[in-house]
Structure formats: C-alpha cells, structure tokens
Assembly symmetry: C2
Homo-oligomer: 498 residues x 2
C-alpha cells in the first residue's frame, strides 16, 4: 500500500529512494550537543526531528542503531581552530573542573530530551571517551599523506586533498570562500594553507583539557570525534548522518574529508540537515534577546512569552513544519499549537475508549465507502512521512482521521458505518502515529483520571438527584481545572478544555 520512503540528501540536493546498506539494519549518526551551556531551543528542534526519523524508521520495521554524541572537548569558542575550548572557558568562568561543566549540562540536556519525549539514542558516545580512536584516525590520515605535523599540532591538508577529491560539495562552498573564512589568528600561522583544519592541537600551558599523543600533549580537533565515533559504531560507510543546517560547513565537510583521508571513500549515504528555528521571524541570538531556553518556554519566564508552553505543545508545533523548512515560533503559533495538541489528546482518549461490539453489523455500501475513505486517509499519513518525513502533511491527514474518530465518539456517525477491520485500521493508525511515531503523550498526571472519576461520580449523583445548583457548581469547578464535562445521551463524558 505504502509508497517507498524517499529521503532528501543534502549531498545530491535531491530526494532519493531510501535503500539502507544492509536492511533491515539502519545506521544513523546525529551530531549531539556541545555541553558547555543549556541546550538551545534550535538544537531541540534538530534532535526532535531526528527522533521522529528514528521512530518512523523503527515503525517501518528497520532495526536502527542510532548514535548521537556528546561533545565534551575540542569545540573551540571560534567554531574553528582558534580560541579557548568552550567547556574549559565555562569551567574557568564558573570555577569548576571542566568535567563538572560537562556533567551539569549533559544532565540538563537529558532532562530536556526526556521532557520532549525524545527517545534515548542506542549509543551516546563522548569525545573524551574516544581519544585513542581519534589518535589512530589521525595516524592513518598522516600515513595516507593528507595531513602534516606542525609544532605538535596536526592539520588536515585540504589543499592537497582537493587535488584528488572534491571538497565543499556538501555545503556548496568554493575555495575562495573557504579561504576568506579563515582569519589570521592564533594557530593559523602553523597552517600551510588557510583552508586546512586541525585534527589534533598542541595544548598551550594554560589549556587544562589535555592528553598525551604521539605529537605531544594536546587535544583533538572538533571535527575528528564524529568521524572516529561514527565509524567505530556504524562502520566506515553508514546510512544516515544528521545534524543542524549550520553544521554543513565546516563540520560535516571536514568529516567527509577525514573519512576519505582515512579509508578512501565517503562515509555517508544520506546526509540530512534540519532547518533553523526563528522567533517572531528573527534568528535566535543572545545579543538580540530572543534566545529562548527550553526551561523558559516551559515556564513562560521570558519577556517574549505571554504564557508557558508545555513540552508537548512545542513538540506539536515542531510537527506542524517539515524539518527542512524554517520554523518560526510566536505566541500566536504556540497558542494555536496548544489548542490543536489538546484536541488531539482528547481524540486519543476517545479513540482508546471506542470499542467495536462483537455482533455489530451495518449497511454494506456505507461500510464499503468508509473502508475506501479510511484506506485513503491511512495512505495519506504514510505518503506524508514517506516524502522525506514530511510530518506537516502526515499530521494534516491525521487530523482528518481525528474528525472521523470524534464523529464516532460523539455518536454523530454510528460505529456500524464502519466494518470492524476499517474501524480498527482507522483507530490503530491514529493511535500508533500519535503516540509511537510522533511521540506525543498526554501531559496530565497519572493521578488525574482516578481523581476525575471520583468527581464525576459526585457529578452523576447530583444529576440523578436533580440537584441542579450543585451540578452547575461542579461544572464551574471542573472548568477551573481546565476540564469540560459533557452530558451524553447514555453517559457523562469529559475533555480537556481546548
């Protein structure tokens, strides 16, 4: 029924059929955070996008090994080969051991990922946990003649590499740009050519994160860890490499060069990049005052926010946009997402309550029509996801299914209009996509339903006793809790206020 999955490959700039190297196995590597600060909301978008890729591939039956690293050394303040290590700088400012900084922000990162209901990756390797692997890769690139040693540092020889291989294909940069990007700063003088980049850096005496290597005491270049760890856990060629769009250059371009320099061929079959998150149309930045942290979003404690927006509201908002499009958040957009998310959760509960009676029979013609309709809706959901994980399209189809489910739940449409098979296809696809693929969960506490049951019992009794004063009062009190009580023909129902 479902068309094949197609994935947009940044390298070819085209959607390609997804053919993993060794199905049913899929290897996926995603560049994780540099843990020197609270995780950025833009990064949350990237990680949630790839969580949904992971979930959908798993849903399709692939056995995915998902590796997402933690950068705990080597990422310098200038995002290039100069400046202080980002973590060491934070450690100096906060008077901590660098690994205390790493621990603190790794904990925060994990907390936010759990709040957003992102699944933990299969392996979460750290850069400091793979120094030997990185050193070996540098040795191999040196042996292949594509790197050189200078003052205890080792640089990748981009100039020489370009004589044999393409460089800049992923990002589309040309070498003039590359050179223009390089500034004459600390360490630049050691390079033979300005476009070269560090594989291993000699540590100055004040550099506290340092290890012994064949070239003296130093630390790895930022780009190296991802090449070393992806090849260790996924092999020298693997299926998917993901990350934020800003990592295309220099980070991913350097990864390709390192892998080719090490083993002679490109490492990745499908390069995927998530687009940016903007706030009220503007790029997030600290200096602009619009850099919203997850905790600020979830509590509403930020001058730009009119209220708190829950993790699931944010996740829902992310789903509304395809991962390759720019996504803007604003109070209007988030409020709309909150409303739509709650509607979906009410539908989820309704879908789970619906039971198809064993002896139900209905008009064959009507059932044939709903069967076709259901097939089309299910196909539309998969078509969206198969078109480069287009959650926006899949979600729209899912909202059509929601309408059908609500009609059944409200008894506007009798269940007998569906065959059992069609009904179950409708319900199961809906529930599976909401919970398993989109990773949305009901945020209300587990105690709430039990408590509500007790209160609804009181409400029912008040109605039976025709104590309308109390009925009205109870309805008011329910509303204070954000809950709307609905009197149905044969029962009392409730829903979150939308």
């Amino acid at each position: 029924m479902q068309a094949a999955l197609r994935v947009y490959n940044t390298l070819s700039r085209a959607k390609e059929d997804f053919n993993p190297l060794a199905p049913p196995f899929v290897g996926m590597y995603v560049c994780g955070p540099t843990v020197y600060n609270f995780v950025h909301l833009g990064n949350c978008r990237t990680f949630t996008s790839f969580d949904i890729v992971y979930r959908y591939l798993t849903h399709l039956g692939y056995r995915v090994r998902y590796v997402r690293n933690i950068t705990d050394v080597g990422h310098l303040v200038g995002d290039a080969d100069e400046g202080e290590d980002k973590i060491a700088k934070k450690a100096r400012l906060e008077n901590l051991e660098p690994m205390e900084v790493v621990q603190r922000y790794t904990n925060n990162f994990h907390q936010v990922m759990a709040q957003l209901n992102n699944l933990p990756p299969s392996i979460e390797p750290t850069a400091t946990g793979h120094l030997l692997e990185q050193i070996e890769m540098v040795q191999s690139i040196l042996a292949n003649g594509l790197a050189y040693v200078a003052n205890g540092s080792v640089y990748f020889d981009v100039h020489k590499y370009r004589q044999q291989h393409a460089y800049g294909q992923l990002s589309g940069r040309v070498v003039d740009e590359l050179q223009a990007n390089s500034r004459e700063l600390d360490g630049q003088a050691e390079k033979r050519n300005p476009e070269d980049f560090a594989l291993w850096k000699n540590a100055s005496p004040e550099h506290i994160m340092r290890w012994h290597s064949p070239w003296g005491v130093g630390f790895p270049g930022w780009h190296l860890e991802c090449s070393a760890m992806s090849s260790k856990y996924l092999g020298q060629t693997f299926d998917i490499h993901g990350g934020g769009m800003d990592l295309k250059f220099p980070h991913h371009e350097c990864e390709i060069a390192q892998s080719v320099g090490h083993c002679g061929h490109e490492p990745v079959r499908y390069w995927m990049h998530a687009n940016m998150l903007t706030v009220n149309g503007a790029r997030m930045s600290k200096s602009a005052g619009n850099g919203i942290l997850p905790v600020e979003l979830f509590t509403g404690q930020h001058p730009l926010l009119e209220q708190a927006y829950s993790p699931m509201t944010f996740r829902y908002a992310l789903l509304q946009t395809h991962y390759r499009s720019t996504m803007d958040i604003s109070n209007e957009a988030l409020k709309a997402a909150q409303k739509a998310y709650r509607r979906l959760m009410n539908g989820l509960r309704a879908a789970k309550l619906l039971q198809y009676p064993a002896d139900l029979s209905g008009p064959a013609e009507v059932q044939a029509a709903t069967a076709t309709e259901t097939e089309q809706l299910v196909a539309a959901v998969y078509a969206g996801m198969n078109d480069d994980f287009n959650t926006a399209v899949a979600l729209a189809a899912l909202l059509e299914m929601l309408k059908k489910i609500n009609s059944l739940h409200n008894q506007q449409v009798p269940l007998a209009h569906y065959s059992q098979a069609s009904f179950e296809q409708l319900r199961n696809t809906f529930v599976t996509f909401v919970e398993q693929v989109f990773g949305l969960r009901d945020e209300t506490s587990s105690d709430l339903p039990q408590m509500l049951e007790v209160m609804l019992g009181i409400y029912r009794q008040a109605k039976q006793n025709k104590n309308y004063g109390q009925v009205d009062e109870l309805r008011t009190r329910f509303r204070q809790l954000g809950i709307v009580v609905k009197d149905m023909k044969d029962r009392i129902d409730w829903a979150y206020e939308e």
Copy 2:
C-alpha cells in the same frame, strides 16, 4: 552547638574526626555500577547511603566534588582477571554492540537514581573515557618497577610490592588467603605469582572491546579505572572513597596498591563502606530467587512482595538503618516504612503550613522550656548525623520533632508556647533534614493539591448546607484516594491515610 563530624574509617577500623585535606573543599569518590544489567537493589542502598553523605556534607557547608564512575569495560565475569568482559558477554547474548548495552543500563541506572531522589554526582566519568589516563598510570607503575609485562598483558607485582608496603590492610586479608583465592585459569599462567593482578590485559581475537596500547591491543584491568579517574578529578590524595562492602577486596585493596605504586603514597584519607541488603534475612542472589530489582519493588511484581513499595518508602527504610549495619527488607518492614514515611510527609505539609503570627506572645517560662527542648532535639539530630552519618539516630530525633509539629498543627499545643525563634528552629531543622539532608520528597503528583482543593470546596459546601448524606459519601470517596479529611475547629484539613 554541634559536635564535630566523625567518620568510621575502614582502614583504621575506628571512628575518626573528619578533617578534609583542604576545607571547605571535600573530594569524594564512590565506585559506581558496572552497566551490564539492571542496577541491583543492594547497589541502590550503597548509592543512597553516599547520596546522604554528600547531602549532609553539603549541608554542613562543605563544597563537595562528588565523583561516581560508570564501569563500561574491564569488569570480567569472574570479578578477577579471567573470563569474558561482563558487558561484552551481555552484548553477545543480546546481539548488541557493547556500547548499546552500556547505554541501555546506564539509562536504567540514571532512572532509578532519579526515582530514589539521589542527586547526580558532580562528575560521572566512564572507564572507556579514560583509557589514556589508565595507560599512563600503567606506564608509571612499570617505571617504578612494581609491574611487569607478559604476553601483551601487564600485571601488578603484588609479591614485590609487599616487600616494601603493607598489602591487605583494608580488607584484613593475609597473603595465604589471597593466594588461595586465585584459581589456575586463563591468564593465570602469565602471572609470576598468583596474588598479582592485571593492570592491562592482552585481548584475545574474540574479545571485541579492545584498544591499542604500548603493549599491544588490549583492555584495562578492572581496578585501574578508579585509580586513574579519582586521581584525575580529585588529586593523588583525596578525602573520602566509598563503595559497597564487597568491594574492599580485591577492588579497593588493588586501588591502594596502584596508587602507591604510581605516586608513592596512599590515595584516600577516609575509606567508607556500606553494608549489605538482605531479603527476609537471606543474602540476595539470583539463584536463590530473592534478587529483587528496583522496578520489581516499585511495582510489587515479585513473588516475595505482597504489594508495591514506592521509591520514597524504600528510601525511608534505608534511613532507618545505619549504613554500616546489615539491612533487611521484608513486607513487614516495608509496610511499616510506608506508614512512617506517610506520617512524615503529613508532618512536612503541616510544618510548611504553620505560620507564627507577628504579634503573638506567650508565657516566658513555658517558652523557655520549649526553647531548651527544641535545642536538645536539634542537637540530637546533628549528634546522630555527626556520629558517622547515623541516619537511624537522626531520624528518631526527627520523629520527636514531628510530634511537636503535629501538636502545634492540631492545636493541642498553642504556638504561643514557643518563641518565634524556637518555633522557626524547630520547623526549619525539620523541613531541612527531611527534604535536603534525607532527600525525601512528597510522591503525590503536583496536580493532586489543586484537585483536592476543588473537592474540599465541595465538601465544605455540603457541610454548610448540612447535607450529611453527601458529606459521608465524599468522605468515602476521599478515602478511596487514600486521603482522610479532618474537620478542625476553624477549618477542614486533610492528610494521606497512614
């Protein structure tokens, strides 16, 4: 007011005054889990015991750097120098990459630690993250003549070490025992003496966790990581080293030898060991069928358990026993702990509700008496904790405070019997110790209070309307939720059923 803290030092077999190396800083290293399986309930006792040590030292004003490692390589099945790596074995059985095993059980460990409300350590280093540091330490011990290379492995020369240093002091083992403990198994033939232990092991071809070293491809010995990581993050001498009692030999004995072999002096000022957890009087073991996992305890899904016991119930039970005593869990003991924990939580809520009116005055003599009494209770709490972190004694004193708080809350004793200063000393000590030092938290969801408020509103109105039928019905329904409603003179109060 408070006496000085005294700590039982396993090495001296005596309680000693606690004098850290460089106050207010304290360095504490605790041996963490080997992540090849779900964390064991006995380990949870150890980690919770040291969480309370960490919390109390912090409460006393120390700035503690708390390092607790993750063993992700090198711990062999035989707990000695033979057999398969525990993680690699699990990986083979589950058909996973070893680091997938590590990730899975590290996630489980973190989840359980969070459920038990154990604070994350300052640094949580991994063995694979410190291979270079371990290799360097081996090189140093070799250079000092206390190790030898054999077939690509490096062994610590215990025989030679004993000619210069004491060995076995921590565990009280004598060398005959050490030798008797060593079996003639794989790798033993390489050793010069049976009591020697591996610093680095040559990897056989089927051994998948392997790294390059100066001695060939291999992996570190289990004991090495703790010496390398503790000295890296806490220095060559540090204050506290903790772990389970079963680690005294060989693990901690080997750590001492490695550190002395590396830098010439003992690494640790205070060795602390937590005692074992037994079930119905018997040592836990898989083969005996009494090995209860945290998840089984928290859900009640185990043949030996009559019901579920929450994480805080278990934590409370742990507090009732001094960490150096054997602790037994049984249904009786856990039910009693559950009851007592709930009583304490009701007291916590009561304590937070109590307000001392600005204009209150009371009889000076009575206030003087309660002041003395309060001073004594506070002193008793600190005396317990200062006596080698005896939480059992401190908790008993805290329960005396609870009685006082309940009397005030129930208005059996008027607040005016306390001066404002005494009242605040009573309340603040109680709240601080329950929450901050003992790390107990109210397990009910955050939604409950709001919901309860609404239900109590209905209850109040029913009482006002003298609708006694409804009042009774509401009381019954509250009880279904485990909540008891209390009619006070001037207000309606509630408490968890105890």
